[in-house]
């Protein structure tokens, strides 16, 4: 037992009263607010709105794939525009923005016991630049030629040529500009999240007392700060290629019988830059989900997270390793085939810390006191889909298995399972979990359960069978599957089934949205700590927390974030800011 009084404690680097900008008007309170909680809501609302666009686009694509030839307005051009905007919005503008900008802003200051982010003004700017990026992106729908149809990977030379929708129009220019803006805005926010975790922690909040949510978001942000520059570089260079005629990525090309001016560029260079960002990006959306789901499971199973230290180390290990696996997306790109040995090995090594995390989640359930609340249900569903998608990742990472499967529907099914469905399920779980803190009211239980069952079972039914289409050899990014000898009649039926499921799942999201809005007014009163959780955000004097989060005095942290069901304690949870000794003095056998 270590019990020390502060010898030489550094005063907390809280945002002092002077710097904490107090809003004076409605505008500065709700619109140009510097309060991380308001910014979080702004981020989340914007991300949800643009995410809805991506959802509708996925319906349109599924209409075309499930019922080919029925919907004439979905031309191949339109299909590729939908696919590109869908993919890019989902990955960047929805998931990244929601996890880091939304959850990061709301939870980091509250969970580490800070009054606000350390640079509130920059934090506000971050949101507005993000909004601008979204608007630029949306504007491409209305630009002449429409949005780009280059696929979310934007591979040149195709992305800036006339055979691709938007390639020689505004589409690609707006897309690249929007990404550049997003990265600038994100960097501003990211600095805040990282430095707040480093410097804003309240007294007693050592790193090993941080909830895993903070660990996940923190590590993901560090990764994002280091990975997004690669996308930035790629975007700037491609923009120059497109607008000023340089040849960074453009070799000598004959387009439709005509020699283009470009000469000497390297398309592979773009792919390296893109995936140097793109692979860490997968973990940028996965690590916050890992962290959040750990806390959901622990809270709702009333048991400390199993193997906390291992969980932290695994997060760090995954974060570091994910920078040396990028080329597993390029096994069949024509790069030097001997790279395959290296990247397959590193990729499969990452599976080990990832598997450890899965084991620790299910071992947390073991001998727990499992409350099957909606957040818990979503956490369980996350484990199922994440394990499923993670395991198919072992197929695709194992270089030679990737050869037949790459660029088929198997890949589409895999990444939807692992970085589409799984993180989204965590987002839902997290919203059901923290909504009471944000609004003071609970989400409606019945609607919630309906939403859960349809989303989970439906999503599984969409994406599990899809793997087998890929195994048959059906390529991805095919606007039509006509004249294909491998497409059997039964496979067409399967496609129709998948499309119908996609519509049902989409419909359930409308119910969820209704629930979100309806419960703000009509939900059951939640109280300050409805889940009886230990972390600091549930210990605020007011719910919803006010500007400055913790009233007059910052909380002092006396224990780690997982003191659930401590033997000898009266309650089955002890909040982090409760002093005193309830823990057994030795490790249980």
């Amino acid at each position: 037992m270590v019990d020390v009084t502060p010898a030489d404690a550094v005063p907390p680097a809280e945002v002092g009263e002077v710097e904490l900008y107090h809003p004076h008007s409605w505008w500065t309170k709700y619109v140009f607010s510097q309060d991380a909680k308001v910014i979080a809501v702004q981020y989340s609302a914007t991300a949800t709105a643009i995410g809805l666009v991506a959802l509708v686009l996925s319906w349109l694509m599924r209409l075309q794939l499930g019922f080919p030839g029925t919907f004439d307005f979905i031309t191949p051009e339109a299909y590729y525009q939908f696919i590109t905007m869908h993919g890019m919005i989902m990955v960047i503008y929805l998931l990244t923005a929601l996890f880091l900008g939304g959850f990061g802003n709301y939870l980091i200051p509250l969970m580490v016991g800070a009054r606000d982010m350390v640079f509130p003004y920059v934090n506000m700017l971050s949101y507005w630049i993000y909004l601008l990026a979204v608007l630029v992106l949306v504007s491409s729908f209305f630009a002449p030629g429409g949005p780009t149809g280059a696929g979310w990977t934007l591979y040149p030379p195709q992305a800036i040529m006339s055979g691709t929708p938007g390639g020689q129009d505004w589409g690609i220019i707006l897309m690249l500009s929007s990404l550049i803006l997003f990265i600038v805005g994100f960097t501003m926010g990211g600095l805040n999240y990282v430095v707040t975790v480093l410097q804003g922690r309240t007294r007693g909040m050592t790193l090993m007392r941080l909830p895993l949510t903070v660990w996940g978001i923190f590590t993901a942000t560090v990764m994002a700060l280091l990975a997004f520059p690669a996308l930035f570089v790629a975007c700037v260079m491609m923009l120059l290629d497109r607008v000023l005629g340089t040849s960074f990525f453009m070799p000598a090309i004959v387009e439709m019988g005509e020699q283009l001016q470009h000469n000497g560029g390297s398309p592979i260079l773009f792919q390296h830059l893109f995936w140097f960002f793109g692979h860490p990006e997968v973990y940028i959306v996965a690590l916050p989900a890992f962290g959040i789901v750990s806390d959901l499971i622990s809270t709702h199973a009333r048991k400390n997270i199993f193997g906390y230290r291992m969980m932290v180390w695994a997060i760090i290990a995954i974060g570091a390793l994910s920078f040396v696996v990028w080329a597993h997306h390029m096994y069949v790109s024509g790069m030097n085939p001997y790279f395959g040995f290296f990247f397959a090995t590193t990729t499969l090594i990452i599976a080990v810390p990832t598997a450890i995390k899965v084991y620790n989640w299910v071992l947390t359930l073991w001998r727990g006191d499992i409350h099957l609340t909606i957040p818990m249900l979503f956490a369980l569903a996350f484990i199922v889909t994440f394990v499923n998608g993670g395991l198919t990742g072992l197929f695709l990472g194992n270089v030679v298995v990737d050869v037949p499967l790459s660029d088929t529907m198997f890949v589409v099914a895999h990444f939807h399972m692992v970085m589409g469905v799984a993180p989204i399920l965590v987002i839902f779980g997290a919203i059901y979990h923290w909504y009471p803190k944000v609004t003071g009211r609970m989400l409606d239980e019945t609607l919630g359960r309906f939403h859960f069952w349809v989303t989970f079972v439906g999503a599984y039914l969409i994406f599990f069978p899809m793997h087998y289409l890929g195994l048959m050899g059906v390529p991805r990014r095919y606007a039509e599957l006509t004249d294909m000898t491998i497409m059997t009649e039964s496979a067409r039926h399967l496609n129709s089934f998948i499309s119908i499921m996609a519509f049902i799942v989409g419909f359930a999201q409308m119910v969820f949205l209704f629930n979100l809005i309806w419960s703000i007014r009509h939900g059951r009163e939640a109280g300050g700590n409805p889940w009886r959780a230990t972390t600091l955000e549930w210990q605020t004097p007011q719910t919803p927390p006010e500007h400055g989060n913790f009233g007059k005095e910052l909380p002092i942290v006396y224990r780690w974030a997982y003191d659930y069901s401590v033997p000898g304690a009266k309650e089955d949870f002890i909040p982090q800011n409760v002093p005193g000794d309830f823990a057994p003095s030795r490790e249980p056998a």
Binding site: D8, T187, L198, Q199, G204, A230, S247, R309, A583
Partner: protein, 234 residues
């Protein structure tokens, strides 16, 4: 991609060093009370703004490492034709060095509370930096005048791109320098002024370092250097 990997290794080294001081092997469930509230196990004693700038510079470093990586990758192809660097770049380098030195003097002065010297340092830094930027623009004009156009060859494109990016970062720094100067002339609180001058100096030193690397890269010395290292190793 080796340059960026080396850069990330350096970052990882920092992170590892810092993490190794955070008692990551402690068993937090066994520690109650204010455990860990010692110096060093908790937040750093450095001002938060400096840490923020440090993190930002890591991002900037990452950006330029990536440009360098891309440059080396393209340079490896057989048809690489580097462009001749204008002599003017030497003068510009001198200007940037001067501005860094001036800011360092300003820092020293700010620590001693000599406000006049702080102003002098800031002004000198501002003017030399402007001179650097103008010099860079003149170098561009000279090159375009000699027919080395942006789009005519990948080496040219890289030259304009990388120097342009560096220039933009300097320009951004000038905004910060401008705000600091306004503070210096309008009587900002001494400790505040000291902090902003220190931040400026940090940023300038870093961008000077980046510039020296870029210069070596564009002049081809970096490639020669790596070549020699490789030969020594094999």
């Amino acid at each position: 991609m080796s340059v960026i990997l080396v850069f990330l290794l350096v970052i990882a080294g920092f992170a590892g060093w810092w993490l190794s001081h955070q008692r990551l092997t402690a068993k937090p469930w066994l520690e109650q009370g204010l455990a860990g509230d010692f110096v060093g196990f908790d937040r750093s004693a450095l001002p938060t703004a400096k840490i923020g700038l440090g993190v930002f510079l890591a991002v900037v470093g990452c950006l330029f490492s990536l440009f360098t990586s891309a440059y080396f990758m393209r340079m490896g192809l057989p048809d690489w034709q580097p462009l001749p660097l204008p002599r003017l770049l030497w003068l510009n380098t001198g200007m940037l060095v001067l501005s860094s030195v001036a800011l360092q003097c300003a820092v020293v002065a700010a620590r001693k509370g000599q406000i006049d010297n702080v102003r002098l340092g800031l002004a000198t830094a501002g003017f030399t930096t402007l001179a650097f930027l103008v010099g860079q623009l003149m170098a561009w004009r000279q090159l375009t005048g000699d027919g080395y156009l942006l789009a005519s060859n990948p080496a040219n494109s890289f030259f304009y791109l990388i120097t342009g990016m560096h220039g933009l970062h300097i320009l951004g720094g000038l905004v910060g320098l401008g705000r600091t100067s306004v503070g210096a002339w309008n009587g900002a609180r001494p400790e505040r002024l000291r902090l902003s001058v220190e931040l400026c100096a940090m940023y300038w030193h870093f961008l000077l370092f980046v510039w020296l690397c870029i210069f070596a890269l564009l002049a081809g010395w970096a490639a020669t250097f790596i070549d020699i290292c490789q030969r020594l190793l094999t």
